[in-house]
Symmetry: C2
């Protein structure tokens, strides 16, 4: 609605910023990357669709291949990834029109002190070091942080899917 | 069942390790900490219970207080935290008896290349910089990384809870 839209990473009117950066406290490693059809931020959907979203590919570093063992037990997995283009200092944000700001922690915006995205995706296939999934909303090339069974699928671990091994 | 249980952070028989550490790729900041009744790893439940679990307190750094604005709109929030006692180099793990190993990414164990825990918790109250929640399973003193509305509560944002403001 604004006549002179700000560049995508500049604060909008009414947004507030952290005055000085918080100290670094822990180090992340990138365990792979994610291939999606979303090549610009404007193309990323607001939220992924695990049923009807496009197929995306999770690429894991070859040295971590054995850590995927038995992942095929699960229909849904949780992915954590690093939103590498997001600024980290906004305290309040204006998701749409200027002025209507909300706290960063009451939004799922990529912009946050630790720009980690989480998604529950449907696992459709795997090779030794890749997973084919649906339900992502992140940019092509996003660095991968973690893969976990989804909470819901994990709870009844004693009862694996038929044919999924023991 | 083992007669000589290994120390809790030593590899168990059959587990496999990453040969050399992955390079650090991004820095996390700690935005606060979590107070739970679980003072040892043995006391932590396998998974938190958002309905009947004990009340826990999320403490946010005072300089981030304004980033909580409107969090009370949401019944359920997602918390991300840093599992600061977990080793990071196990590729396969033996969750129970020795020998029955599984890939790290097919477990929700704290031990993983990026030891980030995620939980969906029920929000029961807040002050300026604290949240009272149920559904955590982490150690007392765990560093906090992020607070997000839960995916499920976030989707129908256009329809806030009655009385929650506009």
């Amino acid at each position: 609605m604004s006549q002179t839209p700000a560049p995508s990473d500049a604060p909008r009117p009414g947004e507030t910023l952290l005055e000085k950066p918080l100290p670094a406290a822990a180090e992340l490693v990138f365990i792979g990357h994610i291939e999606t059809p979303f090549t610009t931020r404007a193309l990323c959907p607001r939220q992924g669709d695990p049923e009807n979203g496009p197929d995306c590919t999770v690429h894991l570093l070859p040295e971590l291949a054995s850590a995927l063992r038995e992942i095929e037990r699960f229909d849904h997995i949780e992915l954590l990834y690093w939103l590498h283009h997001a600024r980290r200092d906004l305290l309040t944000q204006s998701p749409k029109s200027p002025g209507a700001t909300r706290g960063t922690f009451s939004l799922r915006s990529p912009v946050r002190p630790n720009p980690i995205g989480t998604a529950i995706v449907r696992l459709r296939g795997r090779t030794e070091t890749t997973l084919s999934v649906r339900g992502l909303d992140c940019l092509n090339g996003t660095p991968l942080l973690d893969i976990k069974p989804s909470r819901c699928d994990y709870a009844p671990l004693a009862k694996p899917k038929p044919g999924a091994g023991t």
